[in-house]
Point group: D2
Chain length 409, copies 4
């Protein structure tokens, strides 16, 4: 671990602070800092990124927003039962987690929010404020955290459950329009309010969810105006990751994909939320879009299913069936089954992105962090979905900062 560099502490502010991913981030950071864990799943601990002088992992102070009252340790116990967190981590991370827990503040609810059992009443109260006031409350939480802990910078990461899909709105098309809507007290997705709060507060922002967040034109404008780097949307952790590695193979080999059927099953809170069709829509769109681009065939037959299977808990299991045609019209197939812990896959990416966002801010880079496309199902800046191409762009970014010549291929 790169602990030597003379960094002041940085804040990592997690929206959805008591969810599975945040819990993995918290106990994982504790475990890494105690030397109990290896930094698997994190590319920033490897060449060439390790030489960038990123924020050392032991210099992160955690805080966040959540709308639920369930405490962090009960999330942790659940993850132990699911075989994701080891019980020794719970013991070792207890102090770190308790300190984090004490810094979690009530978040805001998305309007068409799925009814949650253990909702924080303070979140309900926040909901009665005008949107502009909600933004101010959120920003104030983050900036208090920053000054209280004397942090050099706070990176805000949205890890909350997927919001219901909203069609593009004129109110999102420019900062002026958005500010007008706020003046008029018009409803906005919670993810937009969070992103507004973070960016207007000068905090680099990472949208790990499929929700709108900073991806709308108005906030992209705000980020440039405020000189704040940001990235998103929708962390590419599992089935889509494999898809965006495999699809370019078919294109390169000139094999025609006839059908690509993907069936996802998951049993965590994310799965429960996605069981609702309006919440599922954005995710399915992101997963499908990548395929159409990579296969270069807008008419290719694809299907993305997402089913809630409670017994699987955090263990996402996906089956993809790819039917393709080769020379002589021969029909062939590739099928794969992916079995992974969604939270354990996401958490290290959150740490990677927090470090990269802090780095970009330090270097004065503003707006979309185009080099982070490899982390997302729907990169804000667009571009290819080909994972290997995206990852090369990330390496190239690092090498440019390091002043090293780009490695061949």
């Amino acid at each position: 671990l790169t602990r030597a560099s003379p960094h002041r502490p940085h804040g990592l502010w997690l929206i959805g602070a008591r969810g599975s991913i945040s819990t993995c981030v918290a106990y994982g950071l504790a475990g890494l800092n105690e030397g109990l864990l290896e930094p698997l799943g994190m590319c920033t601990e490897r060449p060439p990124f390790e030489r960038l002088g990123l924020v050392p992992l032991d210099q992160f102070v955690l805080g966040g927003h959540d709308v639920c009252l369930r405490d962090l340790s009960s999330s942790a116990v659940e993850l132990v039962h699911h075989g994701i967190l080891g019980s020794e981590l719970i013991a070792a991370g207890a102090g770190f987690a308790a300190a984090y827990e004490a810094r979690i503040r009530p978040g805001i609810l998305d309007e068409p929010e799925v009814g949650l059992a253990d909702l924080d009443p303070r979140s309900r109260s926040l909901g009665s404020l005008a949107p502009r006031e909600q933004i101010e409350a959120l920003r104030s939480d983050i900036l208090s955290f920053k000054s209280e802990h004397d942090l050099e910078r706070v990176v805000v990461v949205n890890l909350a459950s997927t919001e219901a899909y909203r069609a593009e709105s004129k109110a999102w098309s420019s900062l002026a329009e958005l500010d007008g809507a706020l003046e008029r007290g018009e409803g906005l997705p919670a993810s937009v309010l969070y992103a507004y709060a973070a960016i207007s507060g000068g905090c680099p922002y990472v949208n790990f969810t499929p929700s709108r967040g900073a991806g709308i034109a108005a906030l992209r404008e705000l980020a440039l105006a405020r000189g704040v780097p940001h990235c998103g949307n929708d962390g590419k952790t599992g089935e889509t990751l494999v898809k965006t590695v495999l699809a370019p193979l078919f294109t390169a080999r000139a094999l025609r994909v006839l059908s690509w059927q993907g069936y996802n099953m998951l049993g965590n809170r994310d799965g429960a939320v996605l069981a609702d069709a309006s919440h599922r829509e954005t995710k399915v769109r992101n997963k499908n879009e990548a395929l159409r681009e990579l296969l270069g065939d807008p008419a290719v037959h694809t299907h993305v299913g997402i089913d809630y299977v409670p017994s699987l808990q955090d263990w996402k299991t996906a089956w993809d069936f790819i039917h393709f045609e080769g020379f002589l019209g021969a029909k062939m197939s590739l099928q794969f089954t992916w079995t992974g812990s969604d939270s354990a896959l996401a958490a290290p990416l959150v740490l990677d992105l927090a470090r990269l966002a802090a780095f970009a801010a330090k270097k004065g880079e503003a707006g979309e962090m185009l080099h982070t496309a490899a982390f997302f199902k729907a990169p804000i800046g667009g571009g290819t979905h080909d994972f290997h191409s995206q990852f090369r762009a990330l390496v190239a970014y690092a090498e440019q900062h390091l002043g090293t010549p780009r490695t061949r291929n």
Copy 2:
């Protein structure tokens, strides 16, 4: 299809001329030229390669060597029964195939050859000649074919069954050593004799098999001396192709592969030959080597099984199980099943390589065709096994010849 350019006919000389792949090449070419087939599986019919001015597909004249007497049409009927060739192709390609059949000459046997039922007695006779004389007989066949059909150039492609594994030999280490061994009449792998014949005859040479062929130091020296381009070894058609696309994903994401088990089942003549352990060894080595390099872990637990399952005929079915570890020590898995016709996957690559080899020769390029690594399990010129990197190198080669700037990423 690029038929317009002012090319004179080219020869495509196939070693293993009556085997499944050769049969697919012959009927496939006929079908393409009749407009019955699309050029699926061939990258050279797509951008940017289609602009290189490669040999038009209708300018290839086929000939070859084989040690078996089974005639081409019985191979073809078998492939119809296996669901690989359509019966309409048999009708449409009958004339083309008969002309090809008439140009097939008896080949030479590899010393420890698996006993074959339908062996050509002329191949047995050739075996009684000294190695040097065998080379001369083979070269004479190829050069007669060239002059008889007034061919601009003949590309020789080895598609014969895998030879038994031979350890490196001092006799292969330089051209002088090899010529000495030939003087002394020492036994050499058939693939080496074929390659010697082709290269000494000035013919670009493609080794699509795992056999030694032109990969030995002596013949690489000869190719440079004669100004002949060549490439190999071991066509990357199926399971290994998928492996070399997936493995870089784990490396990029810093996920630790704990075990990679690969089980291959195939039922064609290639499978029957590989049922013999000595013949299987080279193939298993090639398949394993790629993984170790790509995962950057020489100690990773891998296994490659190849089983002969006659009922599968040409339909290679492989199951891979990848066990990996992520953040928090979470153990996850990816498993895939590949079902593909080996011959229908290989044949278009043969056409691609023949065109690229002819192009390299025309451009005066000699020695290993480093840009063709994407086609092989064990590229003679070495380098990464990462398919996407290899394919980018191929695109870069084309763009360099086209004078276009390399596309970003």
Copy 3:
């Protein structure tokens, strides 16, 4: 083949006479009678059934109803392209198929029928008749076929596409109610009219589809009254077959099934019809019902998906994921992929059932053929869905008729 017994010809009247299954039945029968095929997939050619003296396969005369104009040979050519029928069968069966084709009569449309491109205009005309008149037209077709060919008996088998789901209706609850509805000219599912025609005409009836057919109380009453044996519903050919073999394993071993997710993909006309949710409903119900009964847990989490994937044509591919819990709370899984030609699986069952239905009629057995439960997803007579138990009942039926003592276990 049992050709020796002194049987007079029997009729086999297929509803959906030009569909894939019927085409396989026709060419398959021809191939069996020509000695080109083995009777794979048919249990009635094996012990103990082969000793029952069933109708010899060469004593079946085919006829049927269809609403489409597409001719049988174009169905056959399609099946050749899909790799299901061999082209040698097309040649050998041409005469047999042409004779069959000549005996196909226009069928009736189900009211909410999916718009079909190649609809027979005579079927449209039939639709304008009152239901009672439609029944009479259908019955007259069947009885004319019987007398014209001097057939001992005609077995009617419904192989038409799945109808839209209809809830239970009071009009179906007794024969009197049904006849009242017919008097009043009320609409009824086509499958009910077909079944009424067959049974009232004294013809044994097999409902291989999930449609209502003879399964409604009114027609079960009619069958008993007329002394006609019948069976159904919904042939158990693939994924459900495997399910009803595997599920009892979990029960016997006291392993708790947590979730059973089944994803079916198919690309034939049946798949196109099932792409419509109302048509899919019956099928999904049948598939789910079996699991709930076999696992003895009405609350078990199950899912049955059916997706239309045109490129698969007749090759049904299904993936099932079974998540279960064992001793110590350990969570385990079994997943399977089934790849089978639906038509080639169904056709031999149609022949088995036709023979068993003719046998039951000869023996004077009326009403539900309880011993045929092994053939159906939703056996009309109810009982366990456990395939092995169902099959034992079938064997016991045969042994009872043969007068042999039942074999132990």
Copy 4:
């Protein structure tokens, strides 16, 4: 749990007492008795077996033999890390496990034993005794355990690692021959000595391993002479269980199995021992034998692979590919992946068998317990491998004892 019946305590003596399965038996029993676990995986807690009045689970006292020094709690900690035992069970079962640990005595080594790191030196010493003396030492351990704890009966279960394969020997062919060999001090498999000790001591004996044990003719004779019931060999826990459920399906449906390839991967100590070909042979034979019988085709192409994949630990993962032919010669496939904890699957069967063996002894039944075939890959008494038939025989046995009429089917 059936705790009410007036049973005196029974002994359960485990050979391989510190192995994974024994550890699961011990902590599992503790967890069941503490009400922390449900009796999943055990059929004897369900109808009709629960009414037989079997030994209540809280009346079992554990003891055993082992050749390793590794203590039980370290086995348990390993199983916690592998996600098989919950950490709460470790706490709850600590007292029970410690008492068991104190009753474990040094076992004997099999001659060609795989070199084990943590061998008990007392086991080495036992090895220097004559076979007859070894038997006496083992029997004395068991009988001391019985009297010390005032046990009504002791059931001995062999759970040790698989021994190397030994061909049939004349010395095993009758009790007289075996006693002669013992007189002469000839070497015998350890499993035979254990079985001799148990049976001659009047203890019902269960051979859960593929080793010879009580399956040799001499010991079957001894068991009858001593009036002792016994059963074996080779617990049917996973892939073979699924095989013996699926194979009868193909037979019943008259589908011809062309090839059945099974690939097993496991990473526990059992896997390490099976990595050695001589130890693997018996297991592979048992797995293959079942298929040949069930498919009724001695020439069917089958393959059983067993690979040691350490990272999988106790999580056995198996992939089977079944290639089959149906009507019209259509080739289809079924493939399945089984992922299960071998120890958690085996442990409840051990409890079931211990109870059934004690019951048989109480009822005065001697010799092979034919009704237990469902539990074994190679039932000593032979008979069909069809799991559902075997299980019906078990149910019939119970019903006979209960005096209830056999349920239909």
